[in-house]
Symmetry: C2
Subunit: 344 residues, 2 copies
């Protein structure tokens, strides 16, 4: 004997299938007593709506797709990043009986756009979460937009006004970190910039400038070095900064990899951290806790961001109006051992 259908439930409850459908989908206009009868029937029969039938009829599945940069394409750089995204997205989905499809995507391949489109057209997901840095790539975004499926970019570069997005407060929290450093007595605080293509990372420089101003400190081009997000560029920038005639007493890097590079250089040069030099990063990757001394950094709320994105997608699906708005989930400063009072 096969699984019960909506007809079986309707028969047992003594109503029409439409009413069962209403109950299952939490639609209004059902008398409480009727609803209860239907719910009983569902429980008795152990009825589970068939998603395929539902999807076919409604032209929409209950799937949420999480698209991110394929870690297998390089050397598994940021496993924690992906797991955090997945965890958050899963959390957002589970509260709404949605399922999560994961789709790592190698953006270096020519046909990513086509493949993404196929995936979307075939599975008709309720929505798509696009992680950074893919959320900054026109090739990816355009492919998704072309399908008309709701999507939420995480930390997108430019956001068209009417579009959904979830970001963190890069700028504000970087200002805060800069003020924290200034509060420690540092007068010469340097900054190492990241990949300029990445808007979120660019915002970090702006935050640094804000923080300087708010602390009554002068901004100087000479205290800014241009990195590219890599450990190596952190080393190079750190060396340049430290060999300066009047070296900074604090270096704030736009990400942890670069901050770790600075730390390495400081060790090599015999510069004591945090005694002579304070170092701060951004991201709070595992490495930040593994280096000696552990890095003061900024924790990006990836889990929450992905969770919010999933919820936005799913909520919007229930309502008649499309979800909208830019959400901002605040990042938090993690003070560890790499920062301390400015040397006298």
């Amino acid at each position: 004997m096969s699984r019960p259908t909506i007809f079986d439930v309707a028969k047992v409850a003594g109503v029409s299938i439409k009413t069962v459908s209403r109950v299952v989908n939490h639609e209004p206009n059902v008398r409480d007593s009727t609803r209860e009868r239907v719910e009983n029937a569902i429980a008795v029969l152990k009825y589970r709506p068939d998603q395929s039938a539902r999807n076919l009829a409604s032209h929409r599945s209950h799937l949420v797709v999480l698209v991110y940069d394929d870690p297998a394409a390089y050397d598994m750089p940021s496993g924690g990043y992906i797991l955090d995204l997945q965890q958050g997205a899963l959390k957002g989905c589970s509260s709404a009986r949605s399922e999560l499809l994961i789709h790592p995507c190698n953006f270096r391949k020519k046909n990513v756009g086509v493949q993404l489109k196929s995936l979307i057209e075939e599975t008709r997901p309720a929505g798509i979460i696009v992680a950074a840095p893919l959320s900054n790539m026109p090739k990816i975004i355009r492919a998704i937009e072309a399908t008309g499926t709701p999507f939420v970019p995480l930390s997108p570069g430019k956001q068209s006004v009417k579009q959904l997005s979830v970001s963190t407060n890069d700028r504000e929290v970087c200002a805060e970190m800069t003020r924290y450093l200034a509060g420690l007595g540092h007068k010469r605080i340097a900054f190492i910039t990241g990949d300029p293509d990445h808007k979120a990372v660019a915002n970090r420089l702006l935050g640094y400038q804000d923080g300087l101003k708010e602390s009554g400190l002068e901004f100087s081009e000479k205290l800014v070095a241009a990195g590219d997000n890599s450990f190596g560029s952190g080393e190079a920038c750190g060396e340049k900064l430290l060999k300066h005639a009047r070296p900074p007493t604090a270096i704030f890097a736009a990400n942890d990899d670069m901050a770790a590079g600075v730390l390495r250089v400081a060790n090599r040069l015999g510069v004591d951290v945090p005694g002579q030099l304070s170092i701060a990063g951004f991201d709070d990757i595992a490495l930040a806790r593994q280096v000696e001394p552990a890095l003061t950094t900024i924790r990006q709320p990836l889990v929450r961001m992905a969770e919010r994105a999933a919820s936005m997608l799913i909520e919007g699906n229930g309502q008649d109006e499309k979800p909208h708005g830019k959400e901002i989930v605040p990042a938090t400063i993690k003070i560890r051992e790499s920062t301390g009072p400015a040397p006298a």
Copy 2:
């Protein structure tokens, strides 16, 4: 204008929808010339079969579900493990246009079984990959079996004869590691066992015994210590072993966490590794490369295992007979710095 359907393709190709269906599904009994006409029409119209419709009619989706122990439930212990599984499963799926649904599962919760059943009955996946240690848990396996969906446990404890599975050669490779250690001149090789509930881990002890015998070495209960897979138990067992009247010159632990624990104890006790003591582990987790000296260990081929599992599920779906067989993907020994010649 909306997406083309099978009817549009049929019209353009001048055939019936059934023939289009045959071509799309690579069924036999289609003349080559006809097939070609249909394929052209598909290309011209950019036709993509709607998975929901397909699923509804066939009572089966093209989804593969990967079930694993929820890392969010504890403290994100083994991110690499999960990412490897995902990568492999994704690889197996992509070659067959299948998609991967991830489903972390907290087996400590009472209702995991029910939730799993719901998921399966609603999405009707083509198959399910069950990662260890969930593959050892009757509660989980029974819930899946009850749905009648094909599934492949990875490193299952007991495998009923007719059932699919993918494992690695725990026993053989452990014998090999033991012989390698013996070949280095070690006469007193100790072993630290892991969680006895985990059959795959139990097999490692058997392999150790095999290796001893093959090397003409005597097995002694006194050289076996019972750990529980944790770093802490590795420390405890290591200490016990090293304070022995006649301590071993090599310790082989059933996993890397325990091996790392032994290493820590050796350092504390001033025992030189690998000068006075060789240490070997199993799993090749990231930690194995991060400790000093780096651990000699055994690399479990997780990516390949998951890939094979996905392929088995998908292939079986295409054929009329169910897939079957136990596959074994061999593990490989990674010699690093923690092992060396026995002290004179």
